[in-house]
C-alpha cells in the first residue's frame, strides 16, 4: 500500500470518548470509553494506550483529526484543545470534521436500509432543551463511495427539522441520538426511515447513533490525502452562549 498517512482521531463531542489511529483504509487501533462526561480524565490516557500499543509517538503521526461538534460544549473543547496542542507540538496539521458527518458516514456501515441515490441521509444529534442538531447528505455512494453534504449543520426544534425534511420531498434516512430521543415524533413523518439499527452487527461494534473516532479517522484521512488540511480548528457551537450569570469573580 506504500507510504500511507497515519492519523490520530479524537472524538469527544458527545458524552462518549473515542480515539482511533490509522489511515483512510485501516483502523490500526481504536478505543471507546462510555465516559459519562469524564472527557478530560479519559482522553490522554486513551491516546497514550493506543499509541503505546502501536509503538509510535505523536511525532510519527501525519495529522490529528478531531470532531468539532456540534455537540456537548465541554466535551468539544477538551477534544479541540487536546488535538490542537498535540498538532502544534508535533508540528503536524489538524483536521476538523463535524459530528453530524461522522454519524452519517458511520450509519452507512450498519444500515439495514439500502441507501438509494434518491435518498437523503439525515444525522440528528440531541441538543437538549427540546432541540436537535441536524444536517443533510446526498448519497454519492455508487460513484464516490461517500456522502455529499447538501445542508450545513443547524440547530432547531423537531418541528423545524420535520419541515426541513418535508421540503426536500425525498426519503430521509435518519440516524443519531436525536433520531432515537424523538423517534415517535419523527415517525409521524411518512418520509423518515430509521438507519443504524441492525442489531448484533459485527461490522461496527460501536453505537452507530453516536459519532465515533474510527469513522472520523476515515473521513479526515481522505481529506489529508487530497491535501486539504489546515493548521487550526474551530468549534461548531451553532448556539450562542447562555448569558446565565454566575457571580464568580476573582
Amino acid at each position: 500500500m506504500g507510504q500511507s498517512v497515519k492519523l490520530l482521531a479524537i472524538d469527544t463531542a458527545t458524552e462518549q470518548v473515542s480515539v482511533a489511529v490509522g489511515d483512510a483504509h485501516h483502523v490500526d487501533a481504536a478505543l471507546h470509553v462510555a465516559s459519562d462526561r469524564r472527557h478530560v480524565e479519559a482522553l490522554v490516557p486513551a491516546i497514550q494506550l493506543l499509541l503505546g500499543n502501536l509503538g509510535i509517538s505523536v511525532h510519527e503521526l501525519s495529522a490529528i483529526a478531531v470532531d468539532v461538534g456540534p455537540g456537548l460544549f465541554t466535551g468539544m473543547r477538551v477534544g479541540l484543545t487536546t488535538a490542537q496542542t498535540l498538532a502544534d507540538l508535533a508540528e503536524i496539521p489538524v483536521v476538523g470534521i463535524d459530528s453530524l458527518s461522522v454519524v452519517a458516514h458511520g450509519a452507512l456501515a450498519v444500515s439495514p436500509v439500502d441507501v438509494d441515490d434518491a435518498d437523503i441521509v439525515v444525522p440528528i444529534l440531541d441538543a437538549r432543551r427540546s432541540q436537535v442538531y441536524w444536517s443533510m447528505h446526498r448519497n454519492n455512494f455508487s460513484t464516490t463511495n461517500t456522502l455529499e453534504e447538501v445542508r450545513r449543520p443547524r440547530v432547531g426544534d423537531v418541528a423545524e427539522l420535520l419541515e426541513d425534511v418535508m421540503d426536500r420531498g425525498q426519503r430521509a434516512l435518519i440516524v443519531g441520538t436525536g433520531a432515537n430521543r424523538y423517534a415517535e415524533q419523527l415517525a409521524s413523518c411518512p418520509e423518515t426511515v430509521r438507519m443504524g439499527d441492525r442489531s448484533g452487527s459485527t461490522a461496527f461494534p460501536f453505537d452507530p447513533h453516536v459519532p465515533h473516532a474510527s469513522v472520523l479517522l476515515r473521513l479526515a484521512a481522505a481529506r489529508v490525502e487530497t491535501g486539504a488540511v489546515i493548521n487550526a480548528v474551530e468549534p461548531l457551537y451553532l448556539r450562542p452562549p447562555d448569558a446565565e450569570i454566575n457571580w464568580v469573580t476573582r
Binding site: V40, A42, L43, V58, D88, T249, R250
Partner: protein, 355 residues
C-alpha cells in the same frame, strides 16, 4: 526529562491557569525565576453582564489558550523542547473554564513526555509573594482574600501550611462586588469601590465590624446588609462615602485579624494574596501596622496578587519537588478546597520527615 527527585534551580515549568476569567501562561525556572507571565483578561467581555458568564469564559479560554501559551514561550525565549514540566490549575474554579487549561496541559505534558502537575489555585496564591520576594522569612501568616475566598493561613515554608481562619459566609471580594453592584459603581467591584472610596470620607458612616474581637474567622454578609439598609434609609447619601465607610470596615477587620494571627503564632512575616490584596487601603494599612509591630511585610505586586500563571508554575515546581507528578488521568475539581488539600500535603510531608 526531569524526573521526580531531580527538580533543580534549572527546572523550567510551564504554568497554565484558566480557572475563571483570565487565560494565563507563564514560564518559571527553579520555582522563583519568572521568565515570562502572560495574562489575557476577559474583563471587558464579562463587564456588560456584571459578572463572569461561565460559557462565555469557557469559549474565550479555548480561543486564547493557544496564543497565550505561544506568547509565554516567545517572551521567555524558550523553545517548547526546553519545558521540563507542566503545571496547571485543577481547581477550584469554573468547570468549563478549568477543562480547557487541564486539556492543554495534559496534551503538552504527554507530547513532550514531561511530568504533569495538578495545582490548587488557592495554594498557588501563597507562592505569589515568594515570586516577588524569594527571601521571604518563615514562618509567615498569609491573608488570602479574593472573590471566592477569605482565608488566614499559617505557613512554615513552601508547601507546609495550616488553616487559622476563614469566612463563615461571604468572601471579602464577594462583598466588594455586591456593594459595587448595589451602588452602581461598575465591574469588577474591587477596583471600583477602591476608586470611589478614595473620593469619599471613611469616617462619614460607621459600619459594623463583625466578629472583630472574636477569633480568627470572618463574616461579611452582615456588613453588606448594613450598607444596603443605610442606603435605603438615606437615599441621598454620597456613594463615595458609603464606599469609603464600607472599605474601611472590611480592611479594619482583615488587618486586625491578620496581625492577631501573626502575634498568636509568633510569625516573622505577614503576607497578602488574592485579588483583594490589590486594594490600596488594605496594602497601606498592612504595611503601616505590621511594620509598627516589627513584622516583615510581603505585599506581592498587583500583577502577582491577581490571577496569573507564574504562581501556578511556582506552586507546581514545589509540588513536583516535594510530592512528585500527577497522573495523566486527573480531572478538574471545581470545588477543590485548600483545607482538604492541605491535610493531604501535610500528611505526605510528615511521612517523608519520618524516613
Amino acid at each position: 526529562m526531569t524526573q521526580f527527585g531531580t527538580v533543580t534551580d534549572a527546572t523550567v515549568v510551564l504554568g497554565i491557569e484558566t480557572s475563571c476569567d483570565e487565560t494565563a501562561a507563564a514560564i518559571v525556572m527553579g520555582g522563583t525565576d519568572v521568565l515570562s507571565s502572560v495574562v489575557s483578561s476577559q474583563i471587558d467581555i464579562h463587564a456588560k453582564f456584571g459578572g463572569v458568564v461561565p460559557e462565555i469564559a469557557s469559549r474565550a479560554h479555548l480561543e486564547l489558550i493557544r496564543p497565550v501559551v505561544a506568547e509565554a514561550l516567545g517572551t521567555a525565549h524558550i523553545h517548547h523542547e526546553r519545558i521540563d514540566a507542566v503545571a496547571v490549575t485543577v481547581g477550584p474554579g469554573l468547570i468549563g473554564a478549568l477543562l480547557v487549561g487541564v486539556a492543554a496541559a495534559k496534551a503538552t505534558a504527554f507530547a513532550l513526555d514531561v511530568p504533569l502537575i495538578g495545582v490548587n489555585h488557592l495554594e498557588a496564591h501563597l507562592y505569589a509573594a515568594l515570586l516577588d520576594d524569594p527571601n521571604l522569612e518563615f514562618p509567615a501568616v498569609v491573608l488570602l482574600v479574593s472573590g471566592g475566598n477569605t482565608l488566614l493561613l499559617f505557613m512554615d515554608g513552601p508547601g507546609s501550611y495550616r488553616l487559622l481562619g476563614a469566612t463563615i459566609d461571604d468572601a471579602a471580594g464577594e462583598a466588594f462586588d455586591k456593594v459595587a453592584r448595589f451602588l452602581d459603581l461598575g465591574y469588577p467591584g474591587g477596583p471600583a469601590v477602591d476608586l470611589a472610596a478614595q473620593r469619599g470620607d471613611p469616617r462619614a458612616i460607621e459600619f459594623p465590624r463583625a466578629m472583630l474581637h472574636d477569633g480568627l474567622d470572618f463574616s461579611f454578609s452582615g456588613l453588606k446588609t448594613a450598607v444596603m439598609n443605610h442606603v435605603r434609609k438615606h437615599p441621598d447619601v454620597s456613594s463615595d462615602d458609603v464606599a469609603a465607610g464600607f472599605q474601611a470596615a472590611v480592611v479594619d477587620v482583615l488587618v486586625t485579624k491578620l496581625l492577631r494571627a501573626a502575634r498568636e503564632t509568633s510569625a516573622r512575616s505577614v503576607v497578602l494574596g488574592g485579588g483583594v490584596a490589590a486594594n490600596s487601603l488594605l496594602r497601606s494599612e498592612v504595611e503601616r501596622l505590621a511594620a509598627a509591630e516589627g513584622f516583615r511585610v510581603a505585599l506581592p505586586s498587583r500583577a502577582m496578587c491577581t490571577d496569573n500563571a507564574a504562581m501556578i508554575a511556582a506552586a507546581g515546581w514545589y509540588r513536583l519537588r516535594d510530592h512528585g507528578p500527577s497522573q495523566l488521568d486527573i480531572g478538574a475539581v471545581p470545588n477543590l478546597s485548600l483545607v482538604a488539600d492541605t491535610v493531604r500535603t501535610n500528611r505526605a510531608a510528615s511521612h517523608r520527615d519520618r524516613r
